[in-house]
């Protein structure tokens, strides 16, 4: 199964696209959650159930948006690439590995694009969910969620650094800086 997925990604040269979608939409998910939580802190909301449901709704919407938009765009791209290849080969490739890839790769990319923000959001919301479930945390669940979000953004930067072959620390700090700037902007504009 994994070997087949790897093969289909290789023949369509889509590995880097999957990686890019994972990082871009994962980043979207983490920053959106961070923004929402800081917004709740600034507005001094303390109803954790409401905060959790609002964030969960946003996470699901991000997931669905990622899933559908990537599927539609990648299906069109794969069909275009297959048509071009069929013209060059002067034959029908729908029963070949290329035909199979043009049907399955968009689905795979869509899943990555949809699940990346959803899973990252779930991880960020975990402290809030634990607190609602009655588990006492050593610090406020909202601040714990912010720490998780910052950690995940840092790890996304580390991942990008390892791909680019540059310093993981520098790359991680870059994404962390983006998160810090976002937080400052929210405090500046929503804090009044």
């Amino acid at each position: 199964m994994l070997g087949q997925i790897k093969f289909l990604l290789d023949i369509t040269r889509s590995r880097d696209i999957v990686r890019r979608y994972f990082v871009v939409n994962g980043f979207d998910g983490a920053l959106t959650m961070l923004g929402l939580i800081i917004g709740f802190i600034v507005s001094e909301s303390d109803d954790l159930a409401v905060i959790f449901n609002v964030c969960l709704g946003a996470a699901i919407a991000l997931g669905m948006s990622g899933l559908s938009s990537a599927y539609i765009s990648e299906s069109a791209e794969r069909k275009h690439a297959l048509d071009k290849l069929e013209q060059a080969m002067v034959s029908d490739l729908s029963d070949s590995a290329h035909g199979e890839a043009s049907r399955r790769v968009p689905l795979l990319i869509a899943l990555v694009n949809g699940l990346a923000p959803l899973l990252i959001s779930f991880l960020i919301l975990l402290p809030i969910w634990l607190s609602i479930s009655g588990i006492v945390l050593p610090l406020s669940p909202l601040y714990a969620a912010i720490i998780v979000a910052l950690l995940l953004l840092f790890l996304l930067g580390v991942f990008l650094g390892s791909i680019a072959g540059i310093s993981w620390l520098r790359s991680g700090l870059q994404t962390l800086l983006v998160a810090m700037v976002t937080a400052v902007l929210i405090y500046l504009f929503a804090g009044h």
């Binding site: 023949i11 290849l85 080969m89 002067v90 034959s91 490739l93 290329h98």
Partner: protein
């Protein structure tokens, strides 16, 4: 019984899978296949290759099917070597 011992095929294929993956997939069709692949010409989206397969009993239909599965198109059978052998009783 007549056994195919060697075939030389002229094939047009997309760039992916590459020559190594393509020849490996063909070699997997039989238990003792030896595949020799030469890239003859490279175009923008395709490449023309020559594949020589040697083995004790070559299954041409299976090789043709594998080439098609990988997106290739068999243009011609350029050389064939067959041998008749007495079937073991």
């Amino acid at each position: 019984m007549v056994y195919v011992k060697r075939i030389l095929l002229d094939v047009l294929k997309p760039h992916q899978p590459n020559a190594l993956e393509f020849s490996q997939a063909i070699a997997k069709v039989g238990v003792d296949y030896c595949v020799h692949l030469i890239v003859l010409e490279v175009d923008e989206n395709t490449e023309t290759i020559q594949i020589e397969v040697t083995g004790s009993t070559i299954d041409f239909e299976a090789i043709q099917s594998t080439i098609k599965d990988l997106g290739g198109s068999l243009h011609s059978i350029d050389e064939v070597e067959v041998q008749s052998e007495i079937d073991p009783a």
